[in-house]
């Protein structure tokens, strides 16, 4: 604005400027005055793929409500909102270590009295135990779960009459056979560190180590942890990670230069027999090749088929902050979203698995093979989701699959863990 460009108009302009500021302020005040009969609640959900889906759901909710309006918030990174004492009223986010910090510090309200908690599938309790909760509280309600295993090209397996391996030795044999046939056994995309970590590393470790038990033991030791403690990463992880390096060698030659997008494209075009990615890759693969004939099986890491498990994560969990002024309204929205019809429809469209005892099994042919493992509770959560992200675990795993030393890396990880345990 060109304030004071001529001496004559200056006072007038200043006055009108002040007046306009005051008018704006008054309007803003009116907007949040208590005379408004409708309560506005903020619903935060930032998973990009399903934002339009939830926008529709919120539209339905708002149409059904007389006194509550829910607005959709899609900002990621909620630390700042909590720091400003201004979190959303209902969150629907990935249940990960960042969420865990909020629940551990008591920023989330207790949801243990919700009727929806009673219908949780039996394995939910174990999954929630990965992160410490605030004493006496159940801070989140699981909404949707993702199951991840080895995606494989059924056509290639059928063409060469190959069986799904259930033992580590069979897996090595399979990789050898595929190599002899001139087929790349595993398509890897190590340029993107997270793909090495959540795929090959999480599957290798989850298939061999009891992840929950390992981290429960570490929590027990707490700040006394040293690299010489009874439970360490070096002691538990060395063997599976050496196996992981053995498997990584069966990757495409240019794995170190390939990223996630390259992997989806190549696997869709049948460039490899196996691809260690989660169900989120399936829509991407379908964009290139809608007819790709894909199945999924858990990565065998031992010689006992009873050890087979699939990697899961609570892709969406609901929570209501302690600081929310509209807890009752937020619970109404929560109840709306948790109606079995709505929840099951969401899981079907988002390639998720149900988290209730009465959830229907998945209908997607690409995920079907994982259902028996989930029904019998043979599942684990990835190590990459259990280590605070201040430790660059993803980068460590990227270093390992491209030939780094397991011994050194785990010594570093132990030392990192000890330092973190001491200061938190």
């Amino acid at each position: 604005m060109n304030l004071g460009s001529s001496a004559l108009s200056r006072p007038l302009r200043r006055r009108s400027f002040i007046a306009s500021v005051m008018a704006t302020g008054a309007m803003a005040l009116a907007g949040c005055s208590p005379s408004d009969p409708r309560a506005t609640i903020r619903f935060n959900q930032s998973k990009p793929e399903v934002i339009p889906y939830f926008r529709d759901l919120l539209g339905q909710f708002n149409a059904s409500q007389k006194t509550t309006t829910a607005t959709h918030e899609v900002t990621a990174g909620l630390s700042a909102a909590f720091a400003r004492n201004d979190p959303p009223d209902l969150g629907c986010l990935n249940y990960n270590f960042e969420m865990a910090r909020f629940q551990e510090s008591g920023a989330l309200s207790d949801l243990s009295d919700l009727p929806q908690q009673k219908t949780n599938a039996p394995f939910i309790k174990e999954l929630l135990a990965l992160y410490p909760d605030y004493p006496g509280r159940t801070s989140v309600l699981p909404y949707s779960m993702m199951g991840a295993a080895v995606l494989y090209n059924k056509d290639i397996f059928e063409k060469h009459d190959l069986a799904i391996p259930t033992r580590y030795s069979e897996l090595l044999e399979l990789c050898g056979e595929l190599t002899d046939l001139g087929v790349t056994p595993i398509y890897s995309t190590f340029k993107d560190a997270w793909t090495a970590s959540q795929g090959l590393a999480d599957y290798s470790l989850g298939g061999a180590v009891d992840i929950n038990q390992h981290f429960a033991a570490l929590r027990e030791i707490g700040s006394d942890f040293t690299p010489n403690a009874a439970v360490t990463f070096s002691k538990s992880f060395t063997e599976p990670l050496l196996k992981m390096q053995e498997l990584a060698k069966f990757s495409n030659k240019d794995a170190a230069n390939r990223g996630y997008g390259d992997g989806n494209l190549a696997f869709a075009n049948g460039k490899a027999a196996m691809y260690l990615q989660g169900p989120w890759a399936l829509p991407e693969i379908a964009k290139t090749n809608p007819d790709a004939n894909i199945g999924a099986f858990p990565l065998p890491m031992t010689e006992d088929p009873n050890d087979l498990k699939v990697r899961v994560n609570l892709d969406l969990a609901l929570w209501i902050p302690e600081q929310s002024d509209h807890k009752a309204e937020a619970r109404e929205l929560l109840a709306f979203l948790c109606q079995p019809k709505i929840q099951d429809a969401y899981n079907e469209s988002a390639l998720g698995f149900g988290v209730r005892t009465d959830s229907p099994p998945t209908k997607d042919p690409r995920l079907k093979q994982m259902q028996p493992y989930i029904d019998s509770g043979r599942l684990y959560q990835g190590v990459s989701t259990a280590i605070p992200r201040t430790i660059p675990f993803e980068n460590y795993m990227q270093g390992l699959v491209t030939g780094g030393s397991v011994e050194q890396t785990l010594a570093t990880l132990d030392a990192d863990w000890a330092r973190l345990a001491q200061r938190s």
């Binding site: 270590f97 170190a256 201040t390 270093g399 001491q422």
Partner: protein, 308 residues
């Protein structure tokens, strides 16, 4: 900026800077009107947050909720943390190599582009282009070149070392960051050098050529001594900028392979998104002090350069 440095650079040390007029300027509301808004904005947006950050570096805060004062514990942990020390040694090493490469290239480009050659202005424009492209865009383009184009060229021509991407080589990935950063940073350094070169009076060259100096002799005995001020400024500014390296690394290697290319700024940033807030605030405070020392050094150098 140094572009406005007067024609005679620092070597004229014998002349003393004139003392300021002693008469006190009358208090004027207009000046205050210009100054105060900026001061308020700066205080609210920069000074206060920085002070809060320094305060939180003495706590165990995770960024929200309750916290306790822990004294110097974060700092003590900082200086024994190999991840932190690793990021400092990588960043400082990277900044040193990049600053040398950038200035060598920029200087010779500037000498070439101030010579009497055809299409001088057009060439200058072309060489300045990298400066106007955003770092993250440059990084992604080079990422593609390193990951796809160069290996394909290597494959086609049978050149062994090109076949594997520089980005995935744990020992050489840092080199890719040096190359790309230098590519982006050369133009601005070059502009400063061009300004400096154009400020050298032509009669000095005339006189030296009458004395029988070759073009190399002119470069060594006339150009270089008169350019020392500009070189100093360029090195300090460049080094300070490279210490804050972030966007190009994120776009190229994201700290990998492993943690070989994690810069200080990247490590600090993990504290915000990954819940190690107080600890990384301590790291940021240390980094701030280092930057401050460099900035003061730069200020002294510029002041010396302006003395006439």
């Amino acid at each position: 900026m140094a572009l406005t440095t007067p024609t005679k650079p620092s070597n004229d040390a014998k002349v003393v800077a004139p003392t300021r007029p002693v008469k006190r300027r009358q208090f004027e509301a207009t000046y205050l009107g210009f100054l105060v808004p900026a001061l308020i904005c700066f205080t609210i947006a920069i000074t206060l947050p920085a002070a809060m950050g320094i305060y939180f570096s003495f706590t165990d805060s995770v960024g929200f909720g309750d916290y306790n004062l822990v004294g110097l514990a974060n700092y003590a942990a900082l200086f024994t943390d190999p991840a932190i020390i690793g990021s400092y040694s990588f960043t400082i090493g990277f900044a040193l190599v990049t600053v040398i490469l950038t200035n060598a290239l920029a200087f010779f480009l500037a000498v070439g582009l101030t010579a009497q050659i055809r299409a001088r202005v057009a060439l200058r424009t072309i060489f300045v282009m990298p400066m106007v492209i955003s770092g993250i865009v440059i990084a992604y383009v080079f990422n593609f070149l390193f990951s796809n184009t160069l290996p394909a060229v290597g494959e086609y021509l049978g050149i062994g070392f090109l076949k594997e991407s520089l980005l995935s080589n744990p020992d050489l990935a840092w080199l890719s960051i040096v190359i790309v950063t230098a590519w982006q940073a050369v133009p601005s350094a070059m502009l400063i050098y061009i300004a400096g070169l154009m400020a050298i009076p032509y009669d000095l060259y005339e006189a030296s050529s009458l004395d029988g100096a070759s073009s190399f002799g002119q470069l060594k005995n006339v150009t270089l001594p008169l350019m020392t001020g500009y070189i100093g400024i360029n090195i300090i500014i460049g080094f300070k900028n490279f210490l804050g390296a972030y966007d190009i690394i994120v776009g190229l290697t994201n700290g990998g392979p492993g943690v070989k290319t994690r810069s200080i700024a990247m490590t600090i940033f993990t504290g915000f998104e990954r819940g190690d807030y107080a600890y990384q605030m301590a790291n940021a405070t240390v980094f701030f002090i280092i930057s401050l020392i460099i900035a003061l050094f730069q200020l002294r150098l510029t002041n010396k350069g302006q003395a006439k």
